[in-house]
């Protein structure tokens, strides 16, 4: 108890990015997720540089088709006699690209709608939440399939479709966080200084909701990757791009699965499983660390 305003007692150190990573590392599931995520990114960036895939390098004759793993083709060959291993490496890029970019779109829309809804409240909130709830209850996979077949099969369209259909959960969670932030007295204080709504949102809302946005974003990545794989598997993928989903599609369509060519469909299947698991573990770990209470509130 001191009246001297000069002597400062330092409270806990400011939370840095590093300490959040550190906390994830402490968490067993978080550590596994982190290791897996880092490996997947590393493989998908470096892999194709070392073992580039040449889609034109089809087999010369029937003897090179659907060969099991051997010293030349570590994961065997596909129905056209092409190398599965280099295809697998190449395909991971599309999965990650779609996962990350679609998530960015979903996050921007979700955060934008969530923050505006929670901050301005009133009629805007009612309208935005009605829209959000519509997208939340509408089964997104059939909608993606429908939109995919309408708007065509190229990667940009696929990314947009997945992004545009993945934001509602984000919006809900961020809205509830914004609503509670709004009650904090630093908001009326900023207002009483004469700050504009835009400034209050930028300086006093976004920094507070950011950790939550990141946590949720990680989970959305897993969903987006799965969505792309599903679309590609049912044949709505970009025909010019190899992804794990499209590998599965061709393995199925060419009858390779029926012929027991496990080296063809197992790698992309396990790849999808691993990548989705990695992001899910990481996301849940981040979420638990950051906001133990919020998950129930949302």
């Amino acid at each position: 108890m001191t009246t001297n305003s000069n002597d400062f007692e330092l409270r806990e150190a400011p939370e840095t990015q590093l300490s959040i990573l550190g906390k994830i590392w402490q968490d067993r599931m978080g550590r596994i997720g982190l290791l897996m995520t880092v490996s997947v990114f590393t493989i998908s960036i470096i892999g194709p540089m070392i073992w580039p895939f040449d889609p034109a390098a089809v087999g010369a004759d029937a003897s090179s088709i659907l060969q099991p793993p051997n010293s030349q083709n570590w994961l065997g060959t596909d129905e056209l006699g092409r190398d599965v291993f280099s295809q697998f490496l190449q395909g991971s890029r599309v999965s990650l690209l779609v996962g990350v970019t679609a998530t960015i779109i979903a996050t921007v829309i979700g955060a934008g709608i969530g923050i505006s809804s929670g901050y301005f409240m009133g009629r805007l909130d009612t309208v935005l939440m009605a829209i959000t709830d519509f997208f939340l209850v509408v089964p997104s996979l059939p909608l993606m399939i429908a939109m995919g077949s309408i708007f065509g099969q190229n990667l940009t369209v696929i990314i947009l479709i997945i992004g545009v259909l993945s934001w509602p959960r984000n919006a809900r969670i961020i809205r509830s966080q914004t609503l509670s932030l709004r009650e904090r007295k630093f908001v009326p204080r900023a207002k009483s200084l004469g700050a504009t709504d835009l400034r209050i949102i930028r300086k006093h809302m976004i920094p507070h909701v950011l950790p939550l946005v990141v946590a949720n974003t990680i989970l959305v990545v897993a969903g987006a990757i799965l969505a792309e794989a599903t679309l590609a598997f049912i044949g709505l993928g970009d025909p010019d791009r190899i992804s794990w989903g499209s590998m599965l599609h061709f393995a199925f369509a060419s009858g390779a699965i029926g012929r027991g060519a496990w080296w063809y469909f197992m790698p992309p299947g396990l790849g999808i499983l691993a990548i989705v698991l990695a992001f899910t573990l990481l996301g849940h770990s981040f979420d638990r660390i950051n906001n133990p209470r919020l998950r129930d509130a949302a």
């Binding site: 108890m1 001191t2 009246t3 305003s5 000069n6 400062f8 007692e9 330092l10 409270r11 400011p14 904090r184 007295k185 630093f186 009326p188 204080r189 900023a190 207002k191 009483s192 200084l193 004469g194 700050a195 504009t196 400034r199 300086k203 006093h204 920094p207 507070h208």
Partner: protein, 335 residues
Amino acid sequence: MNSVAPILDVNNLTVEYQVKTKGKRGVRIARAVDGVSLKIRPGETLAVVGESGSGKTSIANAIMRLIEPTSGSIMLDGKELTKLAGKELRLARSKFQMIFQDPFESLDPRRTVLDTILESLVVAGIGIDDAEKRKLALEALEKVGLIPAENVGARYTYQLSGGQRQRVAIAAAMILKPHLLVADEPVSMLDVSLRAGILRLMRELSRELQIATLFITHDLSLAWMYADRIAVVYSGRIVEEGHPADLISFPQHPYTKALVSVIPVPEKNIARNRIILSGEIPDPLEIPSGCRFSPRCPKYRALGQPELCISSDPKLESIGDQFVACHFPEKKETK
């Protein structure tokens, strides 16, 4: 001092809240502030004193235009604040500043002390360069006793104690050279040992910079020590107003008298009649008719429940230097 014109002139301020009621459909009106008028001169501190629920915060927020008053006028510097809106209101805000009750909630924990003070300057659109803004901010920190300013400025607000944070809030308000400072219970969340320092600082600055200060508190003894005038509010209404010495030594309204009677005094041998009020402050949804204090008024009972007290709402009238809203004010001669 009386010759100087007031810089804040509030007339007939009324604040009503719409309260959704269960069962019955629709809303009811809770009148939290009911025709409050007050004036403050430059450099003067007016304390508004009242118990919880009497409408103090509603008065403060309405003057600050954080809530919309239902009716009444708020003149600051001859300008009608209730008529300002949008950008005009935002730009005028630097002239009336507020210190909030809870320094742990009112400063954004994710920003540094320096950022917090700079925000005042940035938001007010003061057209000076960054280096100059920084210099002003550091000076402001020194002025409120947060030294070394460089050192304090680099800290996050959550690293400071409550008293230090409230000093930051004062610095951030004062740097804009406001004409009015509204402080809503600025020390009630602070350790008792820190209260005097904060209130003294506010008073010094308000005198030095000629700021009209509205000091809101539930603690009559703090009002007594740190205000130039005191207005006692009860159930959204000023029931008595006067200079601290007069009001404390000779309260004329039965409510003030009761409040004064329970102020702790160091001299134990002074014979005191502590008046303990029964009941509670009325629900703003159901303000009693006639005098709103009558259900709790000891004098009303002592006088044998005069009809006048429940049939007519007493107006705030001047008696000597004081203003009292009671049909049967204490008279000096009778003492």
